[in-house]
Amino acid sequence: MSQATQDTAIRTGRVTRTLIYLVLLLFGLFYLLPLYVMLVNSVKPLEEITGGGMMNLPQVFTIEPWLKAWSSAQIGVDPTGLKPYFWNSIKMVVPAVIVSTILGALNGYVLTKWRFKYDTILFGLMLFACFIPFQIVLIPMARMLGIIGLAGTTWGLALVHVVYGIGFTTLYFRNYYAVFPTELIRAAQIDGAGFFQIFWRILLPSSGPIAVVSIIWQFTNIWNDFLFGASFADANSQPMTVALNNLVQSSTGVKEYNVHFAGAILAAMPTLLVYIVAGRYFVRGLMAGSVKG
């Protein structure tokens, strides 16, 4: 996504350059191969796939598998397609991303501009949250969700992802705000702005790049999560990833590979879209603060 720059550190001759590009091209093709297979096979009738030739272009073009995956495929016991689960995922992802990003921004703001005793230790502990394996928290989390009455709901899932995401979002915003000039906060204090006014009026408007990073990161992770979805959701609140699994794993009837491929692409579509729309901010934001100037 980033722009090609004119100044390169290493100067290369034409031959080496051609070689490098050739190798890169090969790698690129190899990397894109799975996507190609999925795309091609999702628009073929099933017979074409079972007849062999996964790599061939479709002889008969059909969007039937896509429609089926979306609205009528057998998921578990009901022939609902992925549609209701897609909305489950949206209902889980959107609040979880928004809340965890806002909380991360607030944490970063407090940890850098309203320093208190042992704040670095607290930050260290929050960083720890980034390294806790999912599996460890499954049982305690299930118990907690049961106690607060959110077990088996989309809101419960969103809560789990918010809690799990705060470590990352706090890390992003803290590092971003650490290089934000403190004199600006002081100037705003003298101007009479309060804690939240400074946050809303001064800090947040300058947080675009890092907010994008946080949103992409959280969106991708939460959307792609399977374990929490499989563990904490019931039949009505399952996210897209779990439904996709159920679609592919359903044991009745023939395996409709073309429908599976279409479903998999449908499941991956939102994260792809987010990357394409906001991807360049992602690299920019990740680099923010690492190099001066």
Binding site: A187, Q189, I190, D191, G192, A193, I202, P205
Partner: protein, 370 residues
């Protein structure tokens, strides 16, 4: 009772005391400059006045109101920061009126105040721009506008000119002085630049190591420095401080100083009580501009001493010529007229204006006061 009273203010971080019992009273309309090397506590003191740092002990009062623990926005002060601290996401106009908005001033009044200030500082054409589109000097003006619009009791400036290039700095210095003269505001100004301190202030507090070394008018600080630190910090080139011995000749105290060849020059003091130091070592302080050629000597001075010494280096600087020599075993600089006829290696007859000379106790480094 002054307008702004700093009364025995102390600041400690944990067990470390960084500011020791600072006692300064500022009158209304005064321009006080806090000057000192970095780490001397001048910015900490300014932040304490602003309320950005707590006062560990002592009191700070503005208009007889105790300010300890009062929020910065309720002290009726305004501050101009070194980095200008303009809000990058707001236009110049919004930057200027942000404080008024936070204090609940209605929009029409805000606009009126903004336009007045913009006119005063000639930034009317910039009001719709973002700070990122402004030059350094323009940002400086906007930062001052943001302070002015509040109509505060006290203005606080934290090294406001140190981010500007040399020429612009001189222009803005004049501008700040003009502004102070026209508006008659009370200003506390922090800088490490002694020329800024001398030119702007009505009084200077020279700080070092968390202590106020001397508080006085620029003239007092320059002519009668309290100690060697103040003497050498203020003035450029710095005051020459050379070891000397007091001898009483004909009932008058003289400074006996070694010339380049080890022979002694006797320079008569104007300060009579130095007779009490007869036979003892002192440090003699002579400003470069008080060592001249005979024609350039101050005609008003009642005490011009002569000494012949060898010139080591001459540095013509256009307006002046700097001449260096060995005196008391040290390099000493003299500041002469640009057309003084001097050459390196020459034995030259110098005129020393001993009326302006000061003597320091070598033990305590304090000036021996008359």
């Amino acid at each position: 009772m002054g307008f702004l009273d700093i009364d025995n203010a102390t600041k400690s971080y944990g067990a470390v005391e960084v500011l020791h019992k600072v006692d300064i009273s500022v009158q209304e309309g005064e321009f006080l400059v806090l000057v000192g090397p970095s780490g001397c506590g001048k910015s900490t003191l300014l932040n304490m006045i602003a309320g950005l740092e707590e006062i560990t002990s002592g009191e700070i009062r503005i208009k007889d109101q105790v300010m300890n623990g009062v929020h910065p926005s309720n002290r009726n002060i305004a501050m101009v920061f070194q980095s200008y601290a303009l809000y990058p996401n707001m236009t110049v106009g919004q930057n200027i009126t942000f404080g008024l908005e936070m204090h609940g001033v209605p929009k029409p009044e805000r606009e009126k105040a903004m336009n007045e200030v913009a006119k005063l500082l000639q930034i009317e054409q910039l009001l719709d721009r973002k700070p990122g589109q402004l030059s350094g000097g323009q940002r400086q003006r906007v930062a001052m506008g943001r302070a002015l619009v509040r109509n505060p009791d006290v203005f606080l400036f934290d090294e406001p000119l140190s981010n500007l290039d040399a020429k612009l700095r001189v222009d803005m210095r004049t501008e700040i002085k003009k502004l102070h003269q026209n508006l008659g505001t009370t200003i506390v100004y922090v800088t490490h630049d002694q020329i800024e301190a001398m030119t702007l202030s009505s009084r200077i507090a020279v700080m070092n190591g968390g202590y106020v070394q001397q508080l006085g008018t620029p003239q007092e600080i320059y002519d009668t420095p309290a100690n060697i630190f103040v003497a050498t910090f203020m003035g450029s080139p710095a005051m020459n401080v050379v070891p000397a011995k007091v001898t009483v000749l004909n009932g008058r105290p003289h400074a006996e100083v070694a010339l380049h060849d080890g022979s002694m020059a006797q320079l008569p003091f104007s300060q009579d009580n130095l007779s009490a130091w007869d036979g003892r070592d002192i440090l003699l302080g002579i400003r470069p501009e008080t060592i001249t050629d005979m024609d350039g000597a101050d005609r008003k001075s009642s005490n011009i001493a002569q000494m012949t010494n060898r010139i080591v280096v001459t540095e013509p600087a256009g307006s002046d010529t700097f001449v260096s020599m060995i005196l008391g075993g040290q390099d000493v600089i003299a500041r002469m007229r640009s057309d003084a006829e001097v050459a390196p290696g020459q034995d030259f007859m110098f005129a020393v204006n001993m009326e302006k000379a000061v003597a320091f106790d070598p033990e305590s480094e304090m000036r021996i006061t008359p």
